[in-house]
């Protein structure tokens, strides 16, 4: 470690991670050093996954209680913060009910596919300066490609449970995710045009003089709204929660799941929401980059006092809060209306928006 004060680490993790890397490489062969690093990062992600998942479940319950004039969980721990931990323990001890005539291999595989996809996307997200597992040069492309794989888990779950409700739920979810992937991708591509790069670290660095939502003004804002809408659909959350519409299909694709396997799906939904919000905050709101305004040096200095990962978490949770508000205020759309919204409105708007953005960048009319 350098002579810098210890709290400097919160502003830049690069020296810290570098020193660990160097330490490992000096004591073992490069292969084992990388393997050890991967194991460490994997364990950290597991912990992060569990903590974020549990917190989001708790927070969702509190937000919906706030909207619905209720108190929400308030018995276990102060303000009920350990409620989700208690729920988790309950789910761990619950019986895994075997389903008659279900395709047991695929049935058991489905929740893991969803979870693995979540992990793969989490690896590419920059959480803070230097807190970035893999920095691909095709970061956004990777994120879009991998996150669309989660539909396989959902389809498998619906298909293999051999239940009619599950099958309808899975088919709905398939139709929905495949359509909304387009908008999601196009909204991100709009921003890639502005950024000029697909590498997430470069995108974040490019927002040092101002977040993209301000830099790209009108088209960026349109892309942001489309991204939030299609991101909500992507995560199967209300008002797009057709795949698990409980008033129509009881629980949709995970009707037949019980115990921990159900919990995986449940947790995956929340982590998916976290991922969508993370990408939105990275691409549109600067990720871990503090709020900077062009050449206002003093203002930028003051903003830099808040550590980057606090900025990152703040922005991400703000977007999650927006998505939660959407869910708890709107009724559910019908499947044909959902597809109409995508194919007749969002997609054309998006295509025009990409053109506008390209023109804007070409003419240099952005900030």
């Amino acid at each position: 470690m350098t002579s810098e004060p210890w709290w400097k680490i919160f502003y830049d993790f690069t020296p810290f991670t570098k020193s660990i890397d160097e330490g490992l490489r000096s004591s073992m062969s490069p292969f084992w050093a990388v393997t050890t690093e991967m194991v460490i990062v994997g364990i950290l992600f597991l912990l992060f996954y569990a903590v974020v998942g549990l917190f989001l479940v708790y927070w969702e319950r509190k937000v919906c209680a706030f909207i619905q004039n209720r108190l929400g969980p308030n018995r276990i721990g102060p303000y009920g913060i350990f409620q989700t931990v208690a729920d988790l323990i309950k789910l761990l001890f619950k019986e895994l009910i075997p389903i008659k005539n279900a395709d047991s291999f695929l049935f058991n595989l489905a929740p893991y596919i969803v979870i693995i996809v979540n992990f793969m996307v989490l690896g590419a997200i920059p959480f803070g300066k230097g807190l970035h597992a893999i920095d691909f040069n095709i970061g956004i492309f990777y994120v879009i490609a991998v996150s669309s794989m989660s539909v396989i888990g959902v389809l498998l779950a619906g298909w293999s449970s051999n239940s009619k409700y599950s099958l309808i739920g899975a088919m709905r979810s398939g139709a929905m995710i495949v359509s909304y992937e387009l908008s999601l991708g196009l909204a991100l591509i709009t921003m890639v045009i502005l950024a000029g790069s697909m590498q997430l670290s470069v995108i974040v660095e490019a927002q040092r003089t101002g977040w993209f939502i301000f830099k790209g003004h009108i088209p960026a804002f349109i892309a942001f709204i489309i991204y939030i809408i299609s991101g909500t659909a992507e995560t199967n959350r209300g008002p797009f929660d057709l795949a698990e519409a409980e008033s129509e299909l009881t629980a949709g694709y995970h009707t037949e799941y019980s115990g921990m396997k159900f919990a995986f799906f449940y947790l995956a939904e929340f982590i998916n929401m976290f991922i969508v919000a993370s990408i939105a905050s990275t691409i549109f709101l600067g990720g871990w980059m503090p709020l900077h305004i062009g050449s206002w040096e003093g203002f930028n200095k003051i903003m830099d006092i808040i550590p980057p990962f606090i900025w990152y978490l703040g922005k991400t949770f703000f977007i999650i809060y927006l998505i939660m508000l959407l869910k708890w205020t709107f009724p559910r759309l019908r499947i044909d209306q959902l597809l109409t919204l995508e194919w007749k409105y969002l997609l054309p708007i998006n295509l025009v928006n990409v053109l506008i953005m390209a023109f804007l960048v070409l003419m240099g009319w952005h900030f």
Binding site: Q68, N101, I168, T329, I335
Partner: protein, 374 residues
């Protein structure tokens, strides 16, 4: 094992049957709908009833008239007081008892409060059927206030059993008038929230307008009454056409629409809540003084004959038909419950709509399953 999974693959010609219920979140009870689907489109709906059949009509044949009152609570539990009133009015008509004015007015107020709380629960659960869970808590928040008034006066919150042949079980609580006035003031001031959350919502309007259209002819021929029938333009309000209790002395509008779709069935109920508040306001401040019940004989024996009374519950026309052989028990008792008749139209109006619309349509007919099965 893989084979069995593959065998369930959909055959083009065969209907894809799914069982909605008897345990299903959107059937509001133990109604079972066997739905034939083609993709997401509903081709046929066959309701299977009887999961909560308790034989109330048969039980009535071995109970005295004051005892029957308590069974009628358990039919349409959301219109409990109106059911009580129907039997009471019929027995009083048979015995030719003159009922004090005070009783008539209090019964009317209680009936309208019952209607309001029933429609509040409809609003709450309808929002939930369409996936907006917040409505449920808003609806129940206001419904609690009505139930508190019931509890104070009658001792029961939902199953009130307040009327009895000859009058009321007990007089109103001294706070009754004040609390009802407070409630109406409160509810008028908060009704805009209902519109803000659901009525004006784009998704809600998209989901309901033009869905499940019921024409006037079909409403009449299927006998769909109550707000569901009036949304199609079927003028069937018993309170207007055949006034009982104190309805002949109050001014109110019969809520009528002509569209007959899901949205207007919903709107009819919202408007009815406002009309109910108008009725209560006209009566609450001048409840006549007098006895709350007339002295009745300890054993009520209806003279031989057939007696008929109809009332307007929150869901439509409830008819009570008594055949008496001069005994203290009825010889035969028949209820024409509005929900049973309204259920008949479900298949007719939900064909060719999506499965999500089936939930919306069934919700807008506002079924109470114990009333269907009795």
């Amino acid at each position: 094992m893989e084979e069995q999974v593959l065998n369930t693959a959909i055959n083009e010609d065969e209907p894809y049957l799914i069982n909605m219920g008897p345990q299903h979140p959107s059937t509001h009870g133990v109604l079972r709908l066997v739905v034939s689907l083609k993709g997401e489109t509903v081709k046929n709906v066959v309701p299977h009833i009887g999961y909560i059949h308790r034989g109330i009509e048969k039980m009535c044949e071995s109970l005295t008239y004051p005892q029957i009152i308590h069974l009628t609570d358990r039919m349409d539990y959301l219109s409990a007081h109106i059911n009580n009133e129907a039997v009471c009015l019929n027995v009083e008509k048979a015995l030719e008892i003159e009922i004090p004015e005070r009783v008539k007015v209090i019964r009317t107020i209680m009936a309208e409060l019952t209607r309001i709380q029933s429609h509040q629960l409809f609003w709450a659960s309808y929002g939930m059927d369409l996936g907006g869970q917040t409505c449920y808590f808003y609806g129940l928040r206001d419904r609690e206030k009505v139930l508190d008034i019931f509890e104070e006066t009658t001792g029961g919150r939902m199953i009130v059993s307040y009327s009895c042949p000859g009058g009321l079980m007990y007089d109103i609580h001294p706070n009754f008038q004040k609390r009802v006035n407070d409630f109406i003031k409160y509810f008028r001031s908060i009704l805009w929230e209902y519109d803000a959350i659901l009525t004006g919502n784009v998704i809600f309007r998209e989901r309901t307008i033009g869905i499940g259209k019921l024409s006037l002819e079909d409403a009449v021929s299927y006998g769909v009454t109550g707000p569901s029938g009036r949304a199609s333009g079927f003028s069937c309000d018993i309170r207007k056409h055949d006034p009982y209790s104190a309805y002949d002395r109050v001014k109110f509008n019969e809520v009528l629409f002509t569209e007959g779709d899901t949205y207007h069935r919903y709107l009819a109920r919202i408007e009815e809540m406002k009309e109910s508040m108008n009725i209560i306001e006209q009566l609450i401040d001048n409840i006549p003084e007098g006895p709350y019940t007339v002295k009745m004989k300890p054993v009520l024996k209806l003279p031989e004959g057939e007696y008929f009374q109809k009332v307007e519950t929150a869901r439509g026309e409830l008819d009570v038909f008594i055949v008496s052989d001069g005994n203290k028990y009825p010889f035969r008792m028949k209820f024409r419950s509005p929900n049973f008749v309204n259920l008949g139209v479900l298949n007719h109006i939900s064909k060719e709509f999506k499965i999500a619309d089936l939930v919306a349509i069934a919700g807008s007919l506002d079924f109470v399953i114990p009333d269907i099965d009795r």
